[in-house]
Structure formats: structure tokens, C-alpha cells
Chain length 263, copies 7
């Protein structure tokens, strides 16, 4: 058997300058069910596929609210994701305590990136085996970030990670121009369409396997500047899926199926 | 002999992104005798099979009371389970001291999940070799959680872990609809039926090999909101087993065999 | 040579979920000379076989008094046993200092169990290579516990550990019913009989190779509630061995050979 | 397969006195897309190539502002670069707090060099997998430094690191004499020309794949001594690229295409 | 070559429950030159053989005074022995400071036993490679203890450790009955005889290769209760060796050759 | 391939008592470009060859001023050298603060020697991969020391380390007698001649590849006792090189080409 | 190749109870050039051979003064020796500070012995690769000690360690009787003779390769009790070597060639 001598820990470079353990952690992300994120001038949307949704389990968490202005979608090791999401909740709470305002998206994303990088440069740790999409709104508007096991973080216009996510990314690239000015509902619809691309022929998006999270700027004239993070699970996703179906029939994204939330 | 180079510790990913030591710890759970958990709107029930019940030993602990509002059922390494259960008892006591109320189920489950995750990301530790079903009641009603060696925790409607637990899970999936509105006694009965499915042909549930734990909401009008966690061991399980037998004859779950406990 | 890749430390699971180093530590227990424990409603008894009793050594310690209400019998590595017994002495003393009463048996047994479990989940340690039988009396009456290198602890009605202990266990299982109501002397006699079962044909129990420890409730009307732990070594065991011989001749356990101790 | 026994960690010398892990980390730098730096008597310039600029990502960071008087260009592991750049930001801020003046370039470069060297002389760490070009202005004028994973730092007149950087270095060496007295715009132009040399035939510098950073002395008579670090991304680079094109046509570096920034 | 996979450190059990590194440390004891100890109701005696007594060295230390009431004889690694003996000196001094009385023999023996056991249960240490015979007098009379690298300690009536010590033990076992009531001089004589048994045919005990240490109860009517530890080296051993010779001629142990020491 | 089992870390002796990692670190010194040192009654001189002097780099540091009374020349890993030189600067500064006088040469040399020795006796570190020549003046006059990766330090009359340094040492040995009474300029000239010996036929010493450092006693009647350390780089070396050329033509060392520095 | 599995660190016993790394460290001593020590009732003398005395080096240190009453001679790793000698200097200074008198020889020798033993019982350290002869005078007169890498220390009448030291030891054993009453000069002469025995045929003792250190009791009637440690290097050794020559001619040790030092 071929024996790779450089892939046993994250503190060893291969002769080509690669860190295999970080790449293997990235494989754990690819094993996770797919999640998709999109952002435009007013909203940031996360959609996720709940894989192998067991009958006995209440629900599988693909999308988690971090704070009222921010949520994440996860692909990979769920227990690693919980540790990171709890860390983010604490940081966000701490920021509100200290500065009296929601933590800026870039700052919190940098914090988890640094935490993850540490695990790639210290013997006896392992990289986190999870990728995150972070969607939120701060004083500079809506943002979407991708977080990778290496600690790398990128601000993105749209992104998809997890199993078969390439299909979703292809959809997103093809429709990128349509996102920037579309409505909240249309943006959700694009996310669901991208998600659907990742399904094999005989699979469908259903209220049991679909999660949606949305956060955005409140409409002009609202009391609050922010429309809080809203998570749709189970039956709540029905209008969104119906809108998806209508749009597929009509050939247009978006529609009127979802209820607008007030923040 | 095939040599797996990635399965010696929990801080090494395989090229496919798997952490074998965590999977091997999960094997330790599968070696343990089976436990079953169920929850409905009013009660959460745990039942467990005491394997190889030695004549000389007073009793083997498959179900442990953590606090008056919560208990656990264990499958896997008993000494690991004791460490975790003692940790839970301390957390629960600490919560009562600090906040004057029982610790919410989700919080305590997250705490053991995080503690377990740590053991999968630090060299020199090993994952816990035990799975837990956590059943309890808090301000949001009855809950059932599954805890795995990876640190993963899921809220469940019903669950079974340990040796031959697949048979129990099949029963639970088939009767899931009957649980939600059934009585306390019927819920116990379903649990025992699921447990019985895991036995080989020539084995029976007896007062020596069966443990049952129940916790629930108190009937309307009670002084206390909660019917405290009640553990049935030995002869105490006799009425429950008789009810099981009657129901099997009659074809119905539940019955009147067990004494209602007052909290 | 077959090479087991999973048996070098106690923090590595085998693919079957086993921890071999803990199992090997259990082998160290099996190498130790046999000890036997029994408990009934009034007394807890330990008997032990001193193997290879050297002429030059004053005596080998198989049974150790921990406190006036508790003693242990050991099988395995004697230096590990001394560390654990000193720890128990300190804990017991500490409890008396702090709470003004003897430490409950279950608590102290849990403490050594937790201490031992730690050594199975931290790299650079090894499991204790000794098994213990803990016999004592507390406010809930007489108790017997078995402690294993894994940190596992069981309350037992009777138990035997060490070399050829299976023969003793068989005796104990066969006579379990006779224990519960028998007298202190009869209980000792049963212990010695079980011990004798483990000897090869040409060996005998003698004052040189036999140790006995007894603790119990004081007879009604005594000043103290507890009859303190009494250790019989050397010539002190003569009456007990004579009673054993008489009972074997007569076919009955117990007798009047031993002197009742006052606590 | 040839097995190198001296390349598993950074604390082992080979028989020839080499530290392979440091050399492998240098390979990670060579895998990064190229960045170029130049300095003359009045300005220091950084230019960088954004490789594989994904449509979905807002932008890739090749050049980062550390403080108003200093920026860096990176080649290699982006998460390592972020850790180092955040460290530099803190050091620079700390220096301003403590001494009331911008940190001298050589001092901050020595600080990251020492930090990196530590990782090459302590087991359990790994060298940083990133190279940096540090460009800035302090009381002794403009400076350019190269930082390598070994912790080595050199003051340079011009430098290029990353994939195919040899082509850029050749350009720089050939035109070194032209730099010292050229204008700010001409210096940028030389940087872009050097960068262009690294492209394969069918590639072009565009507003999407080019980053430019400039810092320098303010023109005589300005209020401030320093023209703050200015980062050009996306459309901002258009005039610079147009000037590049003009100069290529005319055969002269520099021109008037870029807007002078005021500090 | 046969490769034992379980003998590289003291924290690994073999499949048979053995700890090979502890057994190997015991081999170091067997490589040391022999020492013998004996105790009776009034005195404790140590005798030792100085092997390879170099002409150039003043003397080799086989017997060391720990305190006025206690001494040790060593076999094995001399530098390990010095560390342990210095530790014992400190403990003994500390006890006198704190409690105003000589440290009981069993306590100090337990202390070195525990210290040694720690080295067998913690990675990165090694067992002590030395065995000790501890002879002394405390409030309960004269005592002799054996200390082994495993941390095991036994109270003994007589003992011999080191190279060819089996011959000495055979002598001791055969004459055990004669010790208990014999005089101080006779006890020394028995020790020398046992020591002599270990010599090969052509070797003799001489003033150059023999060490003797004695401690005991003071004769009735003495001011002090204890006759302090007296170490005989070189010419001081001459009367003892002459008495040995006389006794061998006459066939009786003991005699009048040695000077009684006053404490 | 031959496999050396004793060369993986600096804390393992080979069966011949060698520490290979220290020897390999010495190889790193031999890879460095050569430096030469000389001392007489009035001055200490360092000269160094800048290898592969890149056009793009301002200059390569072979000689570093530590304090006004002391400088070093380095051969080997430059980042290790920087760490050591910064340590020396701090020590020297600290000594001035504390004792109000320049640190004696021998003391500071011992300090780096001890620091280096530590890295050869502690697992997880590696020896420094650099050799130093330390030249300076203290109250006992001018001194020259050699520092090796092993931590070994020698006071020398003259020394050369680095690639092809043997040729320089041969020159120094041959002309040792001429040093003691020669002038400052003649001593520099001898250093440059020794350096020149290491060049291959077609190479020359130039202002680009030569560094010179000098420190000495001030001429009688000067205000200061010490002529401060003077570093010659680039064009500053021109008179020294011209003097070298003149002396080669005339066959005499020294001359009048260099400007005397005032301290 | 034969592979020794027990010689990689100092915390592993071989099956025969040996610690190979300590033995290998002893080999490093044997690689060092020879040193010889002698002691009589009035003086202690050290002589050493400076091997490969380089022309360029001022001198090689084989003998080091620790304090006015004590010096050491070294064979083995010089940097290890410096660390130990500095430690001894500090201890001696500390003793003078605290107790107002020179540290007793045995105490300081025990301190370095304990320090060395620690390095043989803790993973991650290595034994010191140096042997020492410690010569000095304290309140109990002149002493000579040998220190070995194992931490073993012996008081000696005479000793030689290092390369070919066996020849010197043979001389010393043969002339041991002559030492005790000889004069200071005769004792030095014996040391030089022993040293000379280790030279190959064509080698001679010269002022360049010989070091001598002497310390002793001051003659009756001196102000000071001690004649301070006197180190002879270079030309200072000439009279001693001349006396050696005379004595060889005359066949007698000692003579009148050396100057008596006053303390």
C-alpha cells in the first residue's frame, strides 16, 4: 500500500508544501449534506438539505441562529459545528455586552478563522471537520462568508459546500447577476433552486429535508434597522417550497408564497 | 494484515475525512446491552436490558436517575457512563443552586456533548465509549435526547442504542404514530415491546433483566408540575411485565398493571 | 507474529470498541492470589489466600483495614493496591473530619472508580493492575463492592477475584440462599469454603496462608452500632480454620470456633 | 519509495544541516499566486495577482493594509497570513499607543521573523506556510522587506515571491536602475510589468485579478509627512492598468493614468 | 529477533498483565552485589558485599545510615540509591522536626514505596533500578523491610537481594529459628555467614569487601532507648570477621569479637 | 539505505557517545559563507564574505554590531543568528543598565553557550544552526571567541568558520606571529587576505561581497578607552580592499588605505 | 543490522537491567582527552592533557577552578562541563553567602550527582556526556571525587578518566603507596607521570598540551588554613615538566622545580 509519510498531523508539510490533514478535514466537509448561501443588497439567505432525516429524530440541524442578526449553515462534523456555533454565540453576546451593538460579521468570522488556524499549527490538535456559511447583517449591510477547516474565510456573493455542492455552485454562478436586485423571496427561491440541483433524479425537496434561514435589512420606515434572522423548519418551509414549484412552472424565481416576517 | 494508518487516535482524519477512533468508540456502544427511549407530550420513558445479570451482583445499572426531573439510560463502557452521569448530577445540582430551577434538558445535553467533543480533538484523550439516552421534563415539556461518543446529540421522538438495537428502532418507527397521545402506561409498554424485539428467540424479559425509568408532567391539579423520575428495578418491574404480557395477548399496548407514582 | 495495533495504551479503541490495555490490566488481577467476599444483613466478610507465603517474610497483606467500618481484599499488583488503599484511608479520614461520620461505602467506591477511570482515558498513565473487594458497614447496613481496573464498580452479594476464582464463584452462587440469614461465624465459614474450592488437590488452608476480615452491625443493645473491622492473621485464624474443618465433617457451615469480637 | 528520515518536523537537521520542513513550508509559498514589491526614495509599491478569482467570491486578499504607513503582500497559506497580519496590526497599534509614533519597519519585521523562527525550533509547531512582502514608510523613509517561513527577513530594493516569481525577479533586476528616481506612477507601472511577466501567454492583467498597494512620503509642503497606504482593488485598478497598456505601447514605464491620493 | 511489543515503558501491560520494564528494573537489582538483612527482638542487622573494590577508591557504599535509628543496604544502581537515601534522610529529619520523634519504619518505607510506584504509572519516568533493605528501630521495636523497584515493600524477618542472593536466602531460611533469641553479635555472625554463602569457592570475606550495619534496642538501664545505627567499614570489620572465623571453627554463631557500641 | 537510529534528536547518544543532531547542526554552519576573526593586543577584527549577493537585496548581514564594544560574524542559519544576536543585544543593554559598564566578553559568550547547550539536552528543541565569531573589547582588552552549535565556546587568537574556511585557517596559522604587534589596518588586511584564500580562482573580493567589522582600544590620550565597533559595508570597504591590493603587490600586510575611526 | 530496542532513551531498561543511553554517555567521556587526579593527606592534584591543541585557540580548558578551595578536571563534552562547572560555582558561592564557609566537597559532589541522575530518569532529557574529577580541600582535609554521567560519584585516592586512561590508572595503582606521605611537588610529579603513560610513543608532555591544578592545606603557621587552588597553564607548567624530566632521569618522583604558591 502506498504510504504517505506526511499526512498524520496538521503540523507537517509535504515536500510540495501541502498540509494533508487539513485537506482530509476538508473531505469531512464534502461528506456533509449540502448547504447554500446567497447575499444581495438587502438580504442574506441560507438553505440546507437535511440528509437521511430519520423518522425518530425530531429534526437535524443544518442551519443555526447565532444571534438576531446572524446565522450559520453547516456541512461536516455536527459536534465540531456545535462547538464553533456556541463559541460564536458567546462572542456575539460578549460584543453586545461590551460595545452595545451586534458584532460585525467580519470580526466574528475572523475569530473562528483564527481559532481554526491554531488547530492546524499545534501538535495534538486536529482541524475542525466542518465548513460553515455565515450569513448576517451588520452596519455595513448584509454579508455572506465561507469558513473552511484550514481557518480560511472568504466573503462571498454566493456559495455552496458539502456533498454534490458543485452543482449548486454552477447554478449560482449562472444566476449571479439576477441576485443583486431581487426580492427577499426571490433570493430564497434561487437558494432552493441551487439546492435542488444537488439532488439525484428521484429526490425532491420536502418540508422534512429542507431548512431555510433568512436575515436582512428591514424595509424602509421600520422601527428596527434589521429584519431578524428567521429560521424555517418543517411545515414552515411549505410556502417556500410551493413558491419554488410555482417558479419552476412559470420559469421565474421568487413569488409571493412566503410570509414576510417582521423583525 | 491490512494496516489502517489513520485509526490510532481521535485527532487524525483519514483521507476520506473520517475519524476512526470515534467510530471505534461507537462500536463500544454497540457492544453494550440495548436501551430504548420514547417520549410523548406528557412523559419520557427509558427501558433497558440488563445483560448477563450475574446472580452474585445485586443489580447492574442500565438506567440512572440524574435528578428528580431527568434520568439516563446507558450502553457501552459503564465506568465512562458513571463519570458522565456524575458530571450531569453536578451540573444539575449547580443549576438548581444558581438559578433555582431544574436545568433545561437541552443545556445539560449540550454540556456533555461539548465535553465529549473535546476528547475527540485533543491528543492523549480518548472518546467516551458510551452512548446515552437522556429522558427528562423541563419547562418546555418532556424530552428525549441521544448522546453519541462523537459528542453528537440529537433530540429524538424515540431511540434505541446498543446490541441488536436495530430491531427496537424498527418497532419504534412502525409505532411512532401511536406514541404521541398514549398514556404513561402505554408508553412504557411500547418501550418494553421494542426492547423485547431485540431478544433472541429463547430469551424473555424478566424482573431480573429489565429496568424501566419514567418521568413526566404531573396530572392536572397536582401540587407539583412534574412527576419525578421513577426507576423500576427487580420486583418493581413485575406489574409492568405483566401488563406487557396482557397487551401481547390482547394485541394492545399499555394497560392498568403498573402503579401510578406520585411525584 | 501477529501484531495487535490497538493494545499499546489505554486511550486507543480497537475496531471492535475494546480497550486492550484495560483488559490486560484485568489479567494482572487474575495473576493475583484469590480473595473472596460475602455480605448478608448483618455482616460483610473478606477471606484471602496468601500465596507463596515466604518463610522469611512476616506476612503478606491480602486484606487491609481502611477504617473501623471498612476493609479491602486485593488481587493483583500489591504496590498499586497500597496506593489505592492509602487513598481510601485519606478519604475516609477526611469524611470523618468534615462530616463527623464514616464515609458511605458507595461514595468511597465511586471515588476510587473515578480515579481508576481517569487512568484509562489519559495518555501517559496506565490502568491500576489490581482488583479490590470492599467490605464495610454504613448507615444503610453491610455492603460488598467489587472494583475493577477499568474503574467499574459493582455492588455484590458475594464475589471472588484472582487466580482460579471461578471455583469460588461457583460455590458462592450455589450457596447464595444460605448466606442472607446465617450468623457471622457461618458467613466466615462459607467464605473459607469458597476459598478452599480454589486450591489444587494437595493444598490446604493453613494459619500461614489464610487471612480473614470481618465487619458488621453490632448486636442489639451494644453501645456502638458497628462491630469494627477485625482482621485475622496467622494464629488468629486457627479457630476459624478449625470451625471450617468441623463444618466439613458435619456438613454444616459455621459453628462456634471463632471468638466474637467486641467492637 | 525513497524515505527521508529527516523531514518530519522542523526540529531535526538532516546530515547535511538542512531543515526540510522549513524548505517544504517554502514550497507552500511557491504554490501561492505571485506578489511583487518595489521601493525607491519616495515610495514603496506592492502588486499582486489574484489567482482563480472565483465569480462567487467578492474578492481574494493578496494585499492587506497593516496600518496607515504600512501594508503587506502575501503568497502561500492565507489563514497563516491572516494570523501574521493580525499580529502585525496589534504590534503597530501597540507601538502607537506606547510611543506615539508609527512602528519602524525593521522592528515589526524582526518581530514576525522571531515569531516565525520560534516555530522552527520547537517540537509540535510548524513553520508558517506563507511568505510576505512588507512595504512601508517610517522615519528613515520607504522600505521593502521580504519575510520567509524560516523567519529570515531581508531588506530588499525589489522582490517577487510565489508561483512563477522568477520571471518577475528577472524583470526587476533588469530595470533596477530605473526605479530609484522614478515617480510614484512609474514605480507602480514597473510593478505591474514585473507581475505581467509571470503570466502565461494567454493571460492578461485585469481589474479582477490585480491588486495594488502604495505608500510613500508626502510631497513637499504637505501637512502630513506620509502619504497613507492606499489599496487598489477591482475598478480602482483600471487607470493603473490603462497606464500599463499605454506604457507598453510607448515603451515607457509610468504615466498619468492613476489618481494621486492625498494622505 | 523476537520483538516484545510491551516492554518499552512502565505504563504498558503485556497481554498477560505483566509490566516488563518493572521486571527489567528488578534485573538491575540482581546485577548489584549482594546485601543481607536480619532482625530479631532486639536488633536489626545489615551486611553487604563490596564488589570489585577498586584499589583507587576509598570505599564503595553498600550500607548507608539514614538516621540514628535506621540504615539501608542497597543493591542495584548506586545513583538511584543515593536519590532514595537522600529522600529518606529528609523525611526522617522532617519527622523529627515536626513530631519530635524518629519516623516509624513502616511510614518511611511506605513513602519510598509510593514514590517508586509513581514511576511505574506515569509515562516518561522509569522505575528505580535499585532494591533496598531497610533496618531500624522505632517505638514498636526493631524492623527489617525489603523495598523493590515496583514500589512493593514487605516487612521481613530476614532477606537477601542482589547477585547470587538465593544462597544467602537459603541459609537464612534454614537458621531462621536461631535468630529470634540470639545476641547482637550472634545476629551479625548469622548475617556474615549468609553473605559468605554467596561467594564463589575462591573468594573470602575481608575487611576490604565487607560492610556491616547494626541498630538495636539499648540494653536495659541505658539512658537512651535505642543503640544508634553503627556502620562498620574497613578495619572496623576485622573483629566481626574474626568472630565469624572462630564460629565457623567452633560451629557456633556469634562470639565476643565485636565491640559493643554505646548509643 | 543505511539507517542511523541515533540521529533524530539531540538528546540521544550514539553507541560511540556522539550526538549526531549537534554534528548535523555544525553542518549548517559549514554551509554558510565564510567569516574570519582575528585579535591582537589592541584590536579585534571580523571580516565576512556575502555569498550570492542578490542585486535586489540591499545587503546581506554577515557582521552585526551588538553594542559599541562588541560585534559578531555569523555563518549558518540567518534567522537563528538574529535570535542569538537580539539576545546578546538585550544582555549587553541589561548589563549596562545594571552595572553601568559594558558586559565582559567572556560572560556574554558563556550566556549564549549555555542557552545553546540547553537546546542540546532537552527533547523538542533543536540546536542552533549557526556559528558565531564574537569580537570585542572589555576591561581586559580585545577578545575573539568562537561559538559553536553545541554550545561550545573557545577564546581564539584567530578563527574562520563557514564554507571553505579551512583555507582561511591555514593562512591564519601561518601568519599568527605577525598579528600580535601589527597595526589596526594591518590586522584588517590579514583578515581580508585570509578571506580571499577561501575564494575559488575566478572570484574576487569586492565592495559588494565584503563586510568588515573592527573594534579596539582607543589610542593613548583619547577621551574614551574604546574605539567603538565600526562596520564597513559596500563602498566603505573600498579603501580596505585597495589596501589589500597594494599589500599584495608589495607583499606586505596593512597600509594606509582605511580611515581611522574615532570612537 | 542488529537493532537494539532499548537504547533510545535513558528511561528504558534493557531486559538485563541496563540503561544503554547512560552507557553511551560514558562513551563520550572515553572520547575526551585524559585527566588524572590524586590526593594525599595535604594536597589534591589534577593534571590534564590538552588534545589537538590548536595553534589559533588561546588555550583549551581541561581544568577549571570552581572556587579557591576546589577545582575540576573534565573529560567529554565541553559544553556539558561548562554547564556543570557554572552550577558548581553558583552552589559554592551560595554556600559561602549562606553559611560563611566553603562548601564541603561531598555536598557539592552530591548536588551534581543528583542533578545528573535526574537526567537519567526523566524522558526528554539526556545524561550529561562528561566525567569530572573534583579535587579540593574542606574542613576534613583534601579530597578527590569522580563524577560519572550516571550521577554516580565516588571518593577516590587517585583516578583517571578519558581516552587511554587505563594506562594512567595502572600507574596510579602501582604507586598508590607512595602518594600518602609525599610532598606537593612529588604528588604533581606522580600525576604527570601517570598522564605521560597515556601518550603514544612519539608524543611528549609539553607546555602547550599540559594543564595542572593543585589545592592543599597551607603549611603550618600560615595565616590561611588552605593553599588556594592554583592552575598551571602554558609556560607556568615548564618547571613542573622539567621536574618530571629530572625525576625520570633520577628515577624519583618530585623535586624542587615548581614554585610553591602562597595562598
Amino acid at each position: 500500500m502506498f504510504r504517505n509519510n506526511y499526512d498524520n498531523d496538521a503540523v507537517t508539510f509535504s515536500p510540495q508544501g501541502r498540509i494533508f490533514q487539513v485537506e482530509y478535514a476538508q473531505e469531512a466537509v464534502k461528506q456533509g449534506s449540502v448547504v447554500v448561501g446567497l447575499v444581495n443588497k438587502t438580504h442574506a439567505v441560507l438553505v440546507g438539505l437535511k440528509r437521511n432525516a430519520e423518522e425518530l429524530s425530531s429534526y437535524q440541524k443544518k442551519i443555526i441562529e447565532i444571534d438576531s442578526h446572524m446565522g450559520i449553515a453547516i456541512a461536516g462534523l455536527a459536534s465540531d459545528a456545535r462547538v464553533l456555533s456556541n463559541f460564536m454565540k458567546q462572542q456575539s453576546l460578549g460584543s453586545k455586552m461590551t460595545y452595545g451593538r451586534p458584532i460585525p460579521l467580519e470580526r466574528i468570522v475572523t475569530q473562528i478563522g483564527d481559532r481554526a488556524q491554531t488547530n492546524t499549527q499545534q501538535y495534538g490538535k486536529r482541524p475542525y471537520g466542518v465548513g460553515l456559511l455565515v450569513a448576517g447583517v451588520d452596519e455595513t449591510g448584509p454579508h455572506l462568508f465561507e469558513f473552511q477547516p484550514s481557518g480560511l474565510t472568504h466573503e462571498m456573493l454566493a456559495c455552496a459546500i458539502g456533498a454534490r455542492s458543485q452543482m449548486a455552485r454552477t447554478y449560482l454562478e449562472r444566476h449571479l447577476d439576477e441576485f443583486s436586485d431581487c426580492s427577499r423571496d426571490e433570493l430564497i427561491n434561487h437558494g432552493l433552486r441551487a439546492l435542488k440541483e444537488t439532488l439525484s433524479q428521484d429526490k425532491e425537496l420536502t418540508v422534512d429535508n429542507t431548512s431555510v434561514g433568512v436575515v436582512g435589512l428591514a424595509p424602509e420606515g421600520s422601527k428596527s434597522k434589521i429584519q431578524s434572522f428567521k429560521l424555517y423548519e418543517g411545515q414552515e418551509t411549505l410556502p417556500l417550497l410551493e413558491a419554488l414549484e410555482r417558479s419552476e412552472t412559470s420559469g421565474e424565481a421568487g413569488g409571493e408564497g412566503s410570509m414576510e416576517v417582521d423583525s
